[in-house]
Symmetry: C2
Subunit: 379 residues, 2 copies
Amino acid sequence: MQRNGVMECSVCHSKVVAGTPRSISRAYDKHKSKISSKQRVLTFLLVSGDCVLVGLQPILVFMCKVDGKFQFSPISVNFLTEVTKVFFAMIMLMIESRKQKVGEKSLLSVSTFVQAARNNVLLAIPALLYAINNYLKFIMQLYFNPSTVKMLSNLKVLVIAVLLKFIMRRRFSIIQWEALALLLIGISVNQLRSMPEGTKTFGLPVTAIAYIYTLIFVTVPSFASVYNEYALKSQFDTNIYLQNVFLYGYGAIFNLLGILGTVIFQGPESFDILRGHSRATFFLICNNAAQGILSSFFFKYADTILKKYSSTVATIFTGLASAAFLGHTLTINFLLGISIVFISMHQFFSPLAKVKDDKPAGTLELGDAQKHSHPILLL
Amino acid sequence: MQRNGVMECSVCHSKVVAGTPRSISRAYDKHKSKISSKQRVLTFLLVSGDCVLVGLQPILVFMCKVDGKFQFSPISVNFLTEVTKVFFAMIMLMIESRKQKVGEKSLLSVSTFVQAARNNVLLAIPALLYAINNYLKFIMQLYFNPSTVKMLSNLKVLVIAVLLKFIMRRRFSIIQWEALALLLIGISVNQLRSMPEGTKTFGLPVTAIAYIYTLIFVTVPSFASVYNEYALKSQFDTNIYLQNVFLYGYGAIFNLLGILGTVIFQGPESFDILRGHSRATFFLICNNAAQGILSSFFFKYADTILKKYSSTVATIFTGLASAAFLGHTLTINFLLGISIVFISMHQFFSPLAKVKDDKPAGTLELGDAQKHSHPILLL
């Protein structure tokens, strides 16, 4: 007989206090809330940083236009962004190395660099995939109109979740899968208003080649993000700026190879990568670079799904801000869409939706971080 | 120390097998699954019956038209439907009374009838509210276009949930509230396609009188349904067909008063309630009546929310059937809308979403039914 956590010994009939499930769960809850408050600060910093950078983007793009046109070749922007990211990461690495205590292994020593390069060779894979993705974006526009491309991009969130499940062994509850589906649906409902009249019916292309391109277009960037998360987390001991140097170094190399490829096919004028750039384009490239560096923080210290939600929230804030300050009307699609996105977000991160397990799914990455006794907030 | 459910007595050190939380929860799960399997059969019968009747509706409406027009006055349909329901309930009552065992109190005795009439006087309230609602539908069309009326009707599901919370003391988890919001959003997304071009922006009316009409239009039928559920359940011992005789008897009286009112204001020609009726309109009225009787089963043995979901599923099936058999194209709005509705439905009825309580929220009504030792399936 067990009553109020007190059991009676069936042999000597004395009372024994049992560790009731409730008292065990309370102790665990305390431990959990400690972790999740740190995770919440990290999440807040990452998401608000992302919102600021994504919010600045359209303003910078607008400033870069001369007579409504871009003077520079879009292909050069990718390469210059990668180079900027490498420089930024190296500057941060120098700042970090000055803060190092005496006796710590120097971040700038050749041996650290060589060992990190050897350990982080996996980062070449996401770098290659990102470079391929930049080219795919151009090809896709030959087969689909821009709104269809936007719609299809939404499918990425589900592909990312499936890849996270298999590559990162993340477990999602059924409510979380539904939340991800709702995120996809919410963004789509919001985008419906921008669909041209003719595409009102479900205008999916029917040619086989278009299906294959869609599959590649959705899978490649998703795989890049998830593999990036895997590569960054698997070498948790390597400083994140050092990892960035390799990731974006590889990226710069692959983009340069791409430019050389176009030079061979289209003639030498596409080699002039600095043509048409101004101070405005410099800021645009810096913003792009900062977004890239911030993503690596998302991937290493949080996860790809949080990055997706963050971008969506940033888009919503941009929409609300342009309604408040520029007097744009909020369409019913926008209102229905953001309601779905906010419900989705609440459900995905709700403790109710967490997979029932010793280690809650949401704090898995942080658990890893603590195992490696690393500081969580390097921002 | 407790290990594998075996505890050691701290006094005599003998081993005691503890009732582990898992074994207790297993026993409870068995008890729970017994209830919910009966509830599932009931739900299936109610929802599939509802789908058939709602699916037949547009076909019957089409058959009732002569040269694309209705020959009968729509106001007469409500009255004739109420009268049909009373007749149907009385026939069922006679069939039930024949099945009665010797010694049971006769369903058809005057004393049973008088006592039930006294106990179920509350049913006059939903009957009056339903009658008022039939008039409001006409008034609303003066202030809003039909698609706006349809959109506003969706708000009913949230009002119903709030009323259920306060009148029936039902408890909903946060996931269930979100599921209800998603149901509302899903139906709205589906309806967006049928919005005329001009109403693409959020075209809510701004006049104060329109707001008041909207409030009444949404609250009256919601209050009618929830109060109907309350009245039917509170007199659980009264046979449901006897309750129906009173509910629809009151309904017929209120509708007749309405007809008399229009006779006074518009002249005697609106009194000819049988004008323009044919065999097709007879079937339409029978279908309406059957839907009404079925609702009373929803309200008494399940609940108003299940009725709402059921109607939505019926609409979806009608849409899918018309796509499959009549070759209509499925719009992207329809596909997004039904995805939201199905996720909402799964979340609302998911055991994960249930309020943490000794008695799970979904089986509350069945618990009541068993307490009164009544047969569950009277269909």
